[in-house]
Symmetry: C2
Subunit: 181 residues, 2 copies
C-alpha cells in the first residue's frame, strides 16, 4: 500500500483545542496551540489562507500582537508582501498613530507606525480568532485613517455568535473554521 499523500487535506478542526472555563468561568476557549504543534496543520492553515485571498491583490499584511503574528508572519512570506506589526503602546519606535477601543472592562489601545501604510495600499488584516472584532476593527480603522484600503480580514477561527463579522462589515471576512461560540 502506498503511504498517505503528504498533501492530503487535513481537517484543521482536529488541531483546535477546547478548554472550558478559560480565561473565566463559562467561556469555552479555542486553543490554537495544537495547530502550532503540528507543522503539517500549521502549513495547511497558511496555505488555505493564501488560497482564500488569492485575487485580492493584497499589497501588505497588518497584524496585531501577539497571536496575530503567528499567522501573519508566515502568510506575509507566502504572499511575498510586507508585514506591518501593530503593537501595544510604547513598543514601536518613531512616529505612531493609535486607536483606542472598548473592552468588556475598560479600554485598550493599539499603535501602528505612522508611515507603515501608504495611501491606497491594499491591506489584509490577519488574526487568529474573530470574536467580537474589537482588535481587528481597531487595526482596520488605523489602516483606513492612513489612507489604506482593507481588502479583507482573515482569521483562522470565527466564533460566529459573537457578532465580529457584523462589526467588521462591510469589510470582507475570511475564516477557515467557524464555531457557534
Amino acid at each position: 500500500m502506498p503511504s498517505p499523500s503528504p498533501l492530503a487535506r487535513l481537517d484543521l478542526r482536529d488541531f483546535i483545542g477546547a478548554v472550558p472555563d478559560f480565561p473565566k468561568r463559562g467561556v469555552l476557549f479555542r486553543d490554537i496551540t495544537p495547530l502550532l504543534a503540528s507543522p503539517e496543520a500549521f502549513a495547511q492553515a497558511i496555505d488555505q489562507l493564501a488560497e482564500q485571498v488569492r485575487g485580492k491583490q493584497v499589497g501588505r499584511i497588518v497584524a496585531a500582537e501577539a497571536r496575530g503574528f503567528l499567522l501573519a508572519a508566515p502568510l506575509a512570506l507566502k504572499l511575498r508582501v510586507p508585514l506591518v506589526p501593530i503593537r501595544k503602546p510604547g513598543k514601536l519606535p518613531g512616529r505612531t498613530v493609535s486607536h483606542s477601543y472598548h473592552l468588556e472592562y475598560g479600554t485598550d489601545t493599539l499603535e501602528m507606525l505612522a508611515d507603515a501604510v501608504p495611501s491606497g495600499a491594499r491591506i489584509l488584516v490577519v488574526d487568529d480568532l474573530l470574536a467580537t472584532g474589537g482588535t481587528v476593527d481597531a487595526c482596520c480603522r488605523m489602516v483606513e485613517e492612513a489612507g489604506g484600503v482593507v481588502v479583507g480580514c482573515a482569521f483562522l477561527i470565527e466564533l460566529v455568535g459573537l457578532g465580529g463579522a457584523d462589526k467588521l462589515a462591510p469589510r470582507d471576512v475570511i475564516r477557515l473554521i467557524q464555531y457557534e461560540e
Copy 2:
C-alpha cells in the same frame, strides 16, 4: 544586462533601523520593522537561520511573545517542527509552568504549557534580539526544567556589549547580525 538574481544575498543590516533615544534617552533602538517590510530580506533571514541550525536536529522551536513569534513561526514551518509559544501570565489555557526573572526595574514572568516540551526534546529557542538575555534565559530554564535540551538560542540580532551570550552560556548562541550595543 541580466537583472540581478533574485537569490542574491542581501545584507540584512540594510534592513535594520536605528532609532536614537528609544524607548528612553541614551538607548539606540534596533528596529526590525524595515526587515518585516521587505519580503525578500525577511525570507532571507529565515533561510539563514535555518541554514545556521542545520545539523542540530532541532525537534521543536520555543519562542516568547511578541516579536519572537515573528521569526519563530516562519522558521518552525521552514524546519517543519512544532512551535511552542511562551506567553505572559494568564494567556495560555491548561496547566502551565512559569519562570520569573529580573528586569532593570522589577520582575517579569513567562509561562509555557506544562506538556509542551517532552523529556529529551531538542529545542531551539528563537527571538529577534539578544540584549541582556533575560527573556531567552527564562525560556531556556522552563525548557530545561521540563526535561528538554536547548540545542541553541537563535537571534536575528545580538547586541554584543550587553553580555547576553555569557548569560546564556554554555548554551549555543546563533545570531545573524551583531552590533556592539
